[in-house]
């Protein structure tokens, strides 16, 4: 087919396409995202799921049994409520969240970082429910990360999501291997931890198998732990919450990044660090091929099952003796679409998860993390010596030291994939300096907030 012969049908086809596209010729997008009445006014009475049969549309994360176990228990207690559950991997949920919330609104959905979703008017303002159910009397730190103000900054403003529980991160260790390097009680200072890492290396063990491959910069875990060892969690949270003028390139954070670089250069991480994914890290740790990993208590239940009695947990030790401890701690975030058909029932469910005895049992047993709810609420008994007991105890320490931080990967929607991950991979390969790393991340951050 020569070009001349082709021209006419092609033009016709383009003309047809033009007609088809005609409807979309106006500017894409609309303001309709914000439904009227998303003010978060308190209802007169606390909402319920009623007595009529009702089907809740839910969108959960694949691979984590907690939400499904909770909805099953809920249906047992409230038989009129059925669940229509769709599941996807977290990365898929992250990418789909805006479109799903706008076009196919679920009543309850696992959420990624909420600031942009809230700013776009896609999430229901939960302030009314918080008042009706008394969530306002819970420790404020539990809900802080899910508050978003009108500028899209987190930390204050209306509540746009709720947790099923809240997780805690720190250092897991293999108890059998630990005895070989003389680890009998958790290190009290960063220097002691350094010594342990060195002993492990000298003993021919892999001190840390940390994932850092592909699109997942897992060195962000030890990095943020080191940041909290050298500095305060406050300024880190300000940066994550996008407070005006906040920067990640502080002197304390530079010290932390330099410390991480020393660990890399000393060979404390596995040599294939930059191709390790999360699943491989877990299988190596469970298989006894790693003394330590930096991870979160969502694995506690799993480790208690697969390494029964052989896994321990401690929080990152402070740089100075007797210093306060801090940890990344974040709620397992769920939200309600602005356009949800059964918002009241979803809110009732969220409140039930935090306050019902059976639900709190499930949150700890299956989820491995601390349930949400008032400070003195019922806590299920956990067997001493388990990892779950260790992480729950660490949660109490963090509460006492006021050391909860959100994750630096959650500062903006794209900061982890586009900035932390490639930068940390470069650091691991010796192709980036600590100073330039922090400055680059800060630049990307400012660009992303502006854009």
């Amino acid at each position: 087919m020569s070009l001349r012969k082709a021209r006419r049908p092609l033009l016709t086809a383009i003309a047809i396409a033009g007609l088809v596209a005609g409807a979309a010729c106006s500017a894409p997008g609309s303001d309709s995202g914000t439904a009227p009445g998303n003010t978060g006014a308190a209802p007169a009475t606390a909402p319920t799921c009623g007595a009529q049969p009702i089907t809740m549309k839910a969108y959960f994360e694949t691979g984590f049994p907690l939400p499904k176990r909770l909805t099953d228990e809920f249906t047992k207690q409230f038989p009129n409520v059925k669940w229509d559950i769709r599941e996807d991997q977290f990365a898929v949920i992250t990418q789909n969240a805006p479109r799903v919330l706008a076009d196919d609104p679920p009543d309850l959905m696992r959420l990624p970082q909420v600031s942009e979703l809230a700013k776009d008017g896609l999430l229901k303002n939960l302030d009314g429910y918080a008042q009706a159910f008394g969530w306002t009397s819970w420790p404020a730190s539990q809900l802080q990360q899910m508050r978003v103000n009108a500028n899209g900054q987190r930390g204050d403003g209306p509540l746009y999501a709720m947790g099923l529980n809240f997780s805690m991160t720190g250092i897991f260790y293999n108890k059998k291997l630990a005895t070989r390097i003389g680890l009998t009680q958790p290190p009290a200072t960063l220097a002691e931890f350094d010594t342990l890492l060195k002993k492990a290396k000298d003993a021919g063990l892999v001190p840390v198998n940390q994932f850092n491959g592909g699109g997942t910069g897992g060195l962000a875990f030890p990095l943020q732990n080191l940041m909290s060892a050298y500095g305060e969690p406050g300024p880190i949270n300000d940066w994550i919450f996008q407070k005006p003028g906040a920067t990640i390139a502080t002197p304390a954070n530079l010290q932390a990044t330099q410390h991480l670089e020393r660990w890399v250069k000393a060979g404390y991480f596995a040599p294939d660090l930059n191709s390790l994914d999360y699943a491989t890290m877990m299988s190596r740790f469970i298989g006894g091929k790693s003394v330590f990993i930096f991870d979160g208590d969502w694995e506690s239940g799993n480790l208690d099952k697969q390494m029964a009695g052989n896994a321990g947990f401690f929080l990152m030790p402070p740089a100075q003796p007797g210093g306060k401890r801090a940890a990344m701690s974040a709620p397992l975030t769920y939200g309600i679409s602005t356009k949800a058909a059964n918002a009241d029932c979803a809110a009732f469910f969220l409140n039930w998860v935090a306050t019902n005895r059976q639900a709190r049992d499930i949150a700890v047993e299956v989820g491995g993390s601390h349930p949400m709810g008032p400070a003195g609420a019922y806590m299920p008994a956990v067997k001493q010596g388990t990892v779950t007991a260790g992480t729950l105890e660490a949660g109490a320490t963090i509460g006492k030291d006021n050391g909860a931080m959100d994750f630096i990967a959650n500062a903006t929607g794209a900061i982890y994939a586009k900035s932390w991950t490639p930068q940390l991979q470069k650091l691991a390969a010796g192709q980036q300096t600590p100073d330039a790393l922090l400055k680059t991340v800060q630049q990307d951050y400012e660009k992303q907030i502006k854009g």
Binding site: V20, A21, A24, P28, G29, G214, L273, N274
Partner: protein, 304 residues
């Protein structure tokens, strides 16, 4: 196509005109699908590229700003350079290997081995790219088969996590692409070889040409069109690569395997910059056309 040509040449004559409309009627369903699912998204992408839009809320007209940013962002530029490096692995390697393999298979055409070889070589085309990516990421991992083979022959010093090393990640991804595409090229070239008049080979042999001479004097010129198709398809595969890279490295380590296809995806779905993503997509389409059209011309004209 026929009624149109006629309609164009002789505009007068009611019967001819009716025939032309009948032709359009038959083509209408396909045309409508094509317009809805190919042309419409294409035009919408062009439209979006002039806006700053997050995919949900109201958009702002920004004119050519997205394109301006495209030309000045070093990260985006680096991804385009990577795509060109991939051409070596996705196009050059499969076409050269394909020629050698096809010539060899043709030499043993009657034996059973030829059939087996053809099937085995074409198999990667049948396997979904995602599966190929996963399989190769195992083979290339630090404890994978590739490293075991190197260790077995005493080359412990070269073993590494191939996809996690800044120097080897892009070539490693390229090898996966070459493995997938070599079968396609071989098959196309084999088909082309069977079209070449055997009399030419006979004549050459009578003139005393060896196998090598035969290959360069008869096979290669005779395959001009097929090689053109192979190069076109594989260059497009290299420039628009996504699946293999996404599965094997997701652009890492440290953006060393970032390609435009992946960048578009990240821009649209993780950074939520639909306008910018569209602009890069449009630029990629133009880039592919700029690379492929000359190849088309080069390989077509000679055969006419």
């Amino acid at each position: 196509m026929e009624p149109t040509t006629i309609g164009r040449r002789r505009v007068r004559g009611a019967r001819r005109r009716r025939a032309a409309w009948l032709g359009w009627l038959f083509a209408a369903p396909a045309l409508l699908m094509y317009a809805t699912f190919v042309l419409r998204p294409l035009l919408l992408t062009v439209q979006y590229s002039f806006y700053d839009w997050n995919g949900v809320t109201a958009s702002t007209w920004v004119g050519l700003d997205n394109y301006r940013q495209l030309l000045t962002d070093p990260d985006l530029f680096a991804s385009i350079v990577h795509a060109f490096e991939l051409i070596v692995f996705f196009s050059l390697l499969p076409v050269v290997l394909g020629l050698v393999i096809a010539a060899t298979i043709r030499g043993i055409a009657t034996s059973r081995l030829a059939l087996v070889a053809r099937t085995v070589l074409f198999l990667p085309q049948v396997i979904p790219l995602v599966a190929a990516g996963i399989m190769w990421s195992w083979l290339l991992s630090s404890t994978g088969l590739a490293n075991e083979l190197f260790s077995a022959v005493g080359l412990d010093s070269v073993t590494r996590a191939w996809l996690g090393d800044f120097d080897t990640a892009l070539p490693a991804v390229g090898v996966i692409g070459a493995w997938v595409l070599v079968g396609l090229c071989t098959l196309l070239l084999l088909a082309g070889m069977s079209k070449i008049d055997p009399a030419l080979y006979e004549a050459a042999r009578m003139d005393g040409a060896g196998a090598l001479r035969e290959f360069f004097a008869i096979t290669l010129p005779g395959l001009r069109q097929e090689i053109g198709v192979c190069v076109t398809v594989t260059v497009i595969a290299a420039l628009a690569s996504f699946d293999i890279v996404y599965i094997a490295t997701q652009g890492g380590p440290g953006n060393s395997t970032m390609v435009p296809g992946l960048e578009i995806y990240y821009l649209a779905f993780s950074e939520r910059e639909v306008g910018m993503a569209s602009a890069l997509a449009v630029a990629l389409v133009i880039l592919v056309l700029v690379c492929v059209l000359p190849i088309q011309r080069l390989t077509r004209d000679g055969s006419r």
